[in-house]
Amino acid sequence: MLDKTGIAKRIAQELQNGWYVNLGIGIPTLVANYIPEGIEVEFQSENGVLGMGPFPFEGEEDADLINAGKQTITVREGASFFDSATSFAMIRGQHVQLTVLGAMEVSQNGDIANWKIPGKMVKGMGGAMDLVASADNIIVAMMHSNKAGESKILKECTLPLTGVACVKKVVTELAVLEIKDGKFHLIERAPGVSVEEIVSKTEGDLVVPEFVPEMQL
């Protein structure tokens, strides 16, 4: 079973050279720490920066320089700043090759819900609706089940949607799942996790091949 870091490491393996990448708040943010050797990618944050670097050294924080999670950041050489309209022009115009974001629920046709629990909680969609509606390549990073132990990998989402038929891949603490033809496909299992456990914790239709390799981290 993976911890959050493990999920981030696994997703980092999906990075391809030359990609511009948008990382959501939470686990996705950690992906930036595990870029495979020999791979060069550039991180976009939808509040208006391209070329994000690591967090600043203590005492060097700049209130004017944050990411979409409102965290203080730095930028690399070759970075650029721009307004929110231009930022979403990049996203909507498919200039960003990969989006990684968290979710409350994902369905087997690729729907995603991550912004609202009616009557209880409203975070707002922020840039998530633009991101999922635009990117060709969307990976969800999340836990397989919610705190009540219910599967978040569903036949159909029960919460208000963020986007429809957009998620291509889900990486959880248990498995890597691909979504195609209206089903989840089990691609890899986390170290020490059995296929049976994954099957039992997945509510949506899951295609399980004869051999399911263990992740190599």
Binding site: F55, E58, G69, K70, A85
Partner: protein, 232 residues
């Protein structure tokens, strides 16, 4: 064209109960602190505020939520503001939540004389309810309409007496589009310079979009999430 006003009081003359205001900023980054403080002082009521979010409970637009001066918020994110979420869930506050990119583009459209445009964002979600859907390039898009405001209140790093603005880093965010979309646009700046001091090649918001400019008295520039790394 001289756009200079003396202070925040003069800058906000004409803001009245029931008006629609655009307020620049993302989180606490790039927000017009001095104007927000003045709005609290003025006590203007029943405002509709267009702003990506509402700061935190005790800073940024959160201040106007605490004083119940806001009737309606048009935003993309509630996240870091408990009072915002509470007022919304209890029904005290009308809230129109829209995708961040659509919000940015709708402001730009409002300033650019484009009354409506198609975007894929929000298709198949609550956001699309009642909106026209059309397929382009094999993908469904929804029709979104422009936003404008009685006043747009923005914050820039540098500005000149002609209203030209330069923003710093990610404090730019929504400020340039909102500056375009205000019937009256007010800019508060950290540094005010005479016309001719800013490089005309590097002005983010040309003065034509700004009606009033003043130097903000004090900028706290609070940091919302102070994340750092250790020196190795």
């Amino acid at each position: 064209m001289n756009k200079l006003v003396k202070n925040v009081e003069e800058a906000l003359i004409g803001v009245e109960d029931g008006m629609t205001l655009m307020i620049g900023g993302f989180g606490l980054c790039g927000i017009p602190e001095n104007s927000i403080a003045e709005l609290v002082k003025l006590g203007t009521k029943n405002l509709t505020c267009i702003s990506n979010n509402a700061g935190v409970d005790d800073f940024g637009l959160g201040l106007l939520l605490q004083t119940k001066q806001i009737k309606k918020m048009i935003s993309s994110y509630v996240g870091e503001n408990d009072e915002f979420e509470r007022q919304m869930l209890s029904g005290e506050l009308e809230v129109d939540l829209i995708p961040q990119g659509s919000l940015a583009e709708r402001c730009r459209a409002g300033g650019a004389g484009i009354p409506a445009f198609f975007t894929p964002a929000g298709y198949g979600t609550e956001v699309a309810e009642g909106k026209e859907v059309r397929i382009y390039n094999g993908k469904p898009h929804i029709l979104e309409e422009a936003l404008t405001a009685d006043f747009a209140i923005v914050k820039a790093w540098k500005g000149d007496t002609e209203g030209n603005l330069v923003f710093k880093a990610t404090a730019m965010n929504f400020n340039p589009m909102m500056a375009m979309a205000g019937k009256i646009t007010v800019a508060e700046v950290e540094e005010l310079v005479p016309a001719g001091q800013l490089d005309p090649n590097h002005i983010h918001t040309p003065g034509i979009f700004v009606q009033r400019i003043f130097k903000g008295e004090k900028f706290e520039k609070r940091i919302e999430q102070r994340t750092t790394r250790k020196r190795s």
